[in-house]
């Protein structure tokens, strides 16, 4: 569905796979042409073909990864966190390899946000280690955080700043210089469709716009690992497509993405590796095909999350009063 939006150049310039920048008819997004297109990025004749090609490419990539495993960028070992009696995260271990887009899915309250907060150095775990590359985020945080871009869920921004001030601020906190900060702000604004809003205070943004500027803030220092908590929640389909495009390019160029989402369709479309977390434990993880098996990811997810509970005791709901 969204695939059409993903590759708008597909129909206009059916030049097959190409590594040079595709000629984009859409002049509204000049920044999109600035970076070379991903070799894996499909610009096929139609959406279905694109999807097939992409799955093949993903499968090929997975196969290649199996043959010669790429380096582990994120290594989480035995992570635990409990609040009083309630165990939020119960001994989670996972490994994410370079260049992959890792989807973290689970029902509400499963511990996704808690885990991602601990991974990104915002929440201290009770037990366990998080290695970003070689650096332990809790032992040598500065080295680890330099490689890390974070988009937390439901945390405030300094929302009295304007969009461009906020991005500049983020760039400065990560030690960029003035001109780099400025030019990257412009690039990201173009790529994420924030052009017209950069001079408004962030507090006037809609929820989806806040997500977009947060994503830009997470990307501005060109991290090697992105940790995104619900990056596409309340983002419109066009912007989602733009952001997904961006993430794919990022991963193809050797970046790594960890994202959480409720949207199984989206995870299926975007991610090559997934983990299903339920009640603080990982119930399944691996490549997308391994986890979903023969059905869809959604079916597998519902199954793992306890299946559909037959709705009982709500008979009154079906007895319409006359």
């Amino acid at each position: 569905m969204g695939e059409k939006a993903l590759s708008p150049s597909g129909k206009a310039a059916p030049s097959g796979r190409t590594s040079k920048p595709p000629a984009r008819p859409n002049a509204k997004k000049p920044a999109a042409t600035k970076k070379p297109a991903a070799p894996r990025k499909p610009s096929a004749k139609n959406a279905a073909a694109a999807r097939v090609a992409e799955r093949k490419a993903a499968a090929a990539a997975a196969a290649a990864a199996a043959a010669a495993p790429r380096e582990v960028v994120l290594d989480v070992h035995d992570l635990r966190k409990s609040y009083g009696q309630a165990v939020a995260v119960d001994s989670i271990s996972l490994r994410v390899r370079k260049g992959s887009i890792f989807g973290f899915v689970g029902p509400n309250g499963a511990g996704k946000t808690t885990t991602l907060s601990m991974v990104s150095g915002l929440l201290r775990p009770d037990h366990g280690t998080v290695l970003i590359g070689e650096a332990d985020i809790w032992k040598s945080p500065t080295a680890a955080k330099r490689k890390l871009g974070v988009l937390p869920d439901r945390l405030r921004l300094f929302d009295r700043l304007t969009g461009s001030q906020l991005l500049y601020y983020c760039a400065m906190l990560h030690g960029l210089d003035r001109s780099t900060a400025r030019s990257r702000t412009d690039d990201l604004a173009g790529a994420l469709g924030l052009d017209g809003s950069l001079d408004r205070p962030v507090r006037d943004y809609s929820v989806g716009m806040v997500k977009k500027i947060s994503l830009a803030a997470a990307l501005i220092h060109s991290p090697s690992l992105l940790v995104l908590d619900e990056p596409f929640e309340s983002v419109d389909p066009v912007s989602t497509a733009q952001a997904v495009d961006l993430l794919r390019r990022f991963a193809a160029a050797g970046g790594t993405v960890v994202l959480s989402s409720h949207n199984m369709d989206l995870v299926e479309r975007v991610c090559d590796t997934v983990a299903v977390i339920v009640e603080g434990r990982i119930l399944a993880s691996g490549s997308l095909d391994e986890v979903r098996g023969t059905g869809s990811l959604e079916q597998r997810f519902v199954e793992l999350a306890g299946g559909r509970v037959a709705v009982e005791g709500l008979e009154w709901l079906t007895t319409f009063s006359v």
Partner: protein, 517 residues
């Protein structure tokens, strides 16, 4: 058309009388207007044209009151003003609308007062040959006042894009009215004086005003018949010009109701362009922005000068000798300004994550946060110290006052740098109102506040003691000043280093704290 708009106007006026919060202010405004109206009539009845003072007042008071009446519609606030822009969504012809709005302008307090003013002026000139001139001048003046105020309201509503601008316009209008009423009352009071100097002054002012465009109409009865006719013709021309302007304004606003915000100037980043491109610089710029824009900080900037004032009053009432007390306000101000930052990290609320997630040196965070109090406090201390020393009459105390004040400020900031990382407590949320406090303040807040304040005083105690000795032997003053400043610099540096380390180490705990509030 006309009756529709008039009915709307009456409904608006009626709504001011609905029981509720606005009723009290409505009654207040009515009382003021009643007082002004009856004052005008009574003054007119007592006027004696053979008295030069009274003649002068008969020109001056109407001019002054007219100025107040022209801005009066702005004083009510632009929120409910009946102005042309509001009718832009409807398919209306500009001319009938302009007429309807102008008539609606007469209905209401400013219009009623303008009519009352014209009637009072007529009463003054009733038994005088210039009576006809007064009547015509009155009618033309009412028209001028109404049209001027309508144009003003329309333009103000058009120009005031931001709430701040709107509020500024309202307050300027209210201030103008207050000044005008005071001036009119003063003129009436002066006109009763029999003293010849007062009379001469009043007469010369009235002549000046009468010769100026302001007095074009109201001074017409006082001049010779020929000139009076010329003035009245000028007045008629003025009204005609205003009518044309009003028609133009209404037509223009109906066509282009939107006034886009001016295009931003070259995507400037404000404070961010003025500071070094470092983490500490950016945090300083962001802090400055919050100190100037966030109501929680602004409240403190407003309240801080009050603490020393309250203290002065308390001490003066208690019977301390007044002049040396002038040495106290600056140090007290510096103490509280430095101490105020003791919970600064919690003020960021969950936006603090941006600092936690970045590979940021802790000291950079601390430096950035102390910049606003420094740029606010240090120049203020340096500028005001000589003044306070002068008032106190304590010779030679200048170095001590500067040194101690700067020392208190810097020590306070040093202590705050540590306490905001070590002993943070829940703060009001960024969007919270002035007096909102988080529900779970707890005992921790009290301890944190008390200990950080006591720590500043304890660290500064040696310098304060030296300064106290200075009261009996002034040679201690320079020593106290140097000691105070040195303590301040030392404690600030120490606080930033230690606070930076603590911030780095305790960042997740700080984030956890703000997440729970």
């Amino acid at each position: 058309m006309v009756d529709h708009v008039l009915r709307l106007k009456l409904a608006l006026l009626g709504s001011a009388f609905r029981p509720g919060r606005t009723l009290a202010s409505t009654l207040g405004v009515l009382a003021i207007a009643g007082a002004v109206g009856s004052g005008l009539v009574i003054a007119a009845l007592h006027a004696d044209l053979s008295n030069p003072s009274h003649r002068a007042a008969a020109v001056l008071v109407p001019v002054i009151v007219s100025i107040g009446l022209v801005v009066a519609p702005l004083a009510a606030g632009l929120g409910s003003a009946l102005e042309p822009r509001r009718f832009a969504p409807f398919p209306l012809e500009p001319r009938p609308l302009a007429l309807a709005l102008a008539l609606a302008g007469i209905v209401g307090l400013p219009g009623a007062l303008a009519v009352t003013l014209a009637i009072s002026v007529e009463l003054v000139w009733e038994d005088d040959p210039a009576r006809t001139a007064a009547v015509v001048a009155g009618v033309l003046s009412v028209g001028t006042i109404i049209l001027c105020s309508q144009v003003l309201v329309a333009l103000a509503a058009h120009l005031a894009v931001t709430t701040t601008a709107r509020r500024a316009i309202t307050s300027v209008a209210r201030a103008t009215i207050a000044v005008a009423l005071a001036a009119a009352a003063a003129t009436l009071a002066l006109a009763r004086e029999v003293d010849s100097t007062t009379r001469d002054v009043l007469v010369s002012i009235a002549e000046g005003v009468g010769a100026s465009p302001l007095g074009l109409l109201w001074a017409a009865p006082t001049v010779a018949a020929g000139e009076a006719v010329a003035r009245l013709l000028g007045g008629a021309l003025l009204v005609a010009l205003l009518v044309a302007l009003w028609l133009f304004v209404v037509a223009r606003l109906l066509e282009a109701p939107q006034r886009p915000l001016p295009p931003s100037r070259d995507r400037g980043l404000g404070w961010f362009d003025l500071v070094p491109a470092t983490p500490a610089g950016a945090i300083a710029a962001r802090s400055l922005l919050y100190w100037t824009r966030d109501s929680r900080y602004r409240a403190v900037i407003v309240a801080l000068p009050l603490a020393p004032v309250a203290m002065m009053i308390a001490l003066a009432v208690a019977g301390s000798p007044l002049p040396p007390l002038w040495l106290l306000p600056l140090p007290v101000f510096a103490l509280f300004l430095g101490w105020f930052a003791h919970n600064d990290a919690a003020y960021d609320h969950t936006a603090l994550w941006m600092h936690v997630a970045a590979p940021l040196p802790g000291a950079a965070d601390r430096w950035g946060r102390v910049v606003p109090p420094l740029v606010l406090g240090v120049p203020l201390i340096l500028a005001l110290s000589p003044l306070f020393v002068l008032w106190s009459g304590v010779d030679g105390s200048l170095p001590a006052l500067i040194g101690i004040s700067v020392g208190l400020l810097l020590t306070g900031l040093g202590v705050s740098s540590i306490s905001s990382a070590l002993a943070a407590y829940p703060a009001a949320r960024p969007e919270a109102g002035l007096f909102d406090q988080p529900p779970t303040l707890g005992a921790r807040a009290g301890w944190s506040q008390a200990i950080s304040l006591l720590a500043v005083l304890a660290l500064m105690a040696p310098s304060l003691l030296l300064a106290y000795w200075g009261l009996s032997s002034p040679e201690w003053y320079p020593v106290a000043g140097i000691a105070g400043a040195a303590t301040g610099v030392g404690m600030l540096l120490l606080g930033i280093v230690v606070g930076g380390r603590l911030f780095r180490r305790r960042a997740p705990e700080l984030l956890d704290l703000v997440l729970r509030t």
